[in-house]
Symmetry: C7
Subunit: 96 residues, 7 copies
């Protein structure tokens, strides 16, 4: 099976369907200037290195996250769309 | 219930109605070049990491704050509008 | 009473009337390319954080200061105009 | 035999054929805004130096990697095309 | 008497008359692409802060200095023109 | 005899003839977007200084190197063309 | 006698005549994209300060140096043309 292991502070995300509401009723208003997107974390990198120190990642596999809409690079793995973003593109975690 | 947990030094804010005056009479003059906005802090991230050190946030849940008008990303959670900004977008705290 | 507490290295200033001369005769020549302004410090933030260290502010409440004319964000508090600038926008202190 | 030894945090890559699917079915959708590319690591530099510390590389010879499509400098060595990129151009590792 | 106390690494200068030659014959050629200017230091700030350390200033009150012609902000204090520049705008000291 | 001693992290290079192939068959394809060049290191500087530490150079006199085509400043010394580049312009070393 | 003492990492240079060849035959080809220039160091500053540390200068009075042609600010001192550059504008030292 092919797996993708992000490097540095990158995060692999399975994007959620755009209009999908979470059970708790989170959705992104059409009027929003910059429409953030939702997705699930598939894998995270080891973290970026600053002055020789590896900075631990703030998210982990399985987290449900919001991220800036213009972020990332798309690939497809075993028929599944995956978006590769930087941790700094993530706005926050959604807990249902 | 769906909750939103900001990451890094981001802050989730419930924006106040634009023309709403505080009891103490704070409002934003129309003539102001860049009209800052008011809102209440709903949640804060853990803080940004600099050289391996997490920098504590200067605001907390419940604070009444002023922030730059062009800042942030809008989402709606359980029918409530929420703005996600960076701590550096915050001008200051308002104590009524 | 509503008070405004600046965050980080921001400074709240009550701008002086533009043409007002200090007793000691300081005023800003019309010919000056970039006309700095004068005002009184109402409140200062805790200071900016650099590598985990909070850098002490160089001005305090009551100081009479000069600042770059394009700096800051305007608000009005209890009918009083207030300008919120960064410490780095301040040119210096005026002692009459 | 001529060998190429990258310097600093550079990586020498043998690019894979563009449309080649991995056994595990990874390929890059045509619709992708920025089509990342795949290749095999031939050699890595010693790592970049930050504040006197050499930062270890996150990839090694033989790794199968994805990288940004606009990255790198092309050379040909003994009839083989080689791309020289920076480690920061690499998105992640692919394990079949 | 009104005095002006520069902040951070700023320097208050009394500009010399443009064509004034020093006794030792220093003057600025008209042909010079960027005509530096001369003046006398009236007051210096405490110095800039870097990583919590205050960096001592390299000039003091009374020094005769050369500075880049586009630098600084003009004010007038008790009828005297004063230019406020950053230490990094200063090219060097002139000892007659 | 006139010798040239580079400063900081600069490197003096004798550029190789453009189309010259190494014994091992390395040459730069015409199609390459940005055609790197080959040359021999004549002299290296002491290295750049970062936070008071001198960073050792990664190349030495006699190394055969590849560098970005737009890099450097040309001089001629005793009838020989010399290119002065920064270490960061070097892509890697070629070992025949 | 008027002397000029550079500040920080600045260097005062007496430019050599443009076409002057050194005994060892160094001259700058007309074809060179960016024609570096030659001159003699008259005085150096104390060095730049980084994180509270003064970085020692790599050149001294009397050194014969090459520097980028667009660098520096011109002044004239006792009838002698002087160019004030930053140390980072210097390419290297020439030893005849």
């Amino acid at each position: 099976m092919t797996t993708f292991k992000p490097l540095s502070d990158r995060v692999a995300i399975r994007p959620a369907a755009a209009d999908e509401k979470t059970k708790g009723g989170l959705y992104i208003p059409d009027t929003a200037k910059e429409k953030p997107k939702r997705g699930t974390v598939l894998a995270v990198g080891p973290g970026r290195v600053e002055n020789g120190q590896t900075i631990a990642m703030g998210v982990k596999e399985g987290d449900d996250v919001l991220y800036g809409s213009y972020a990332g690079t798309e690939i497809s793995l075993a028929g599944e769309d995956i978006l590769i973003v930087r941790e700094s593109d993530l706005l926050g975690r959604i807990d249902d």
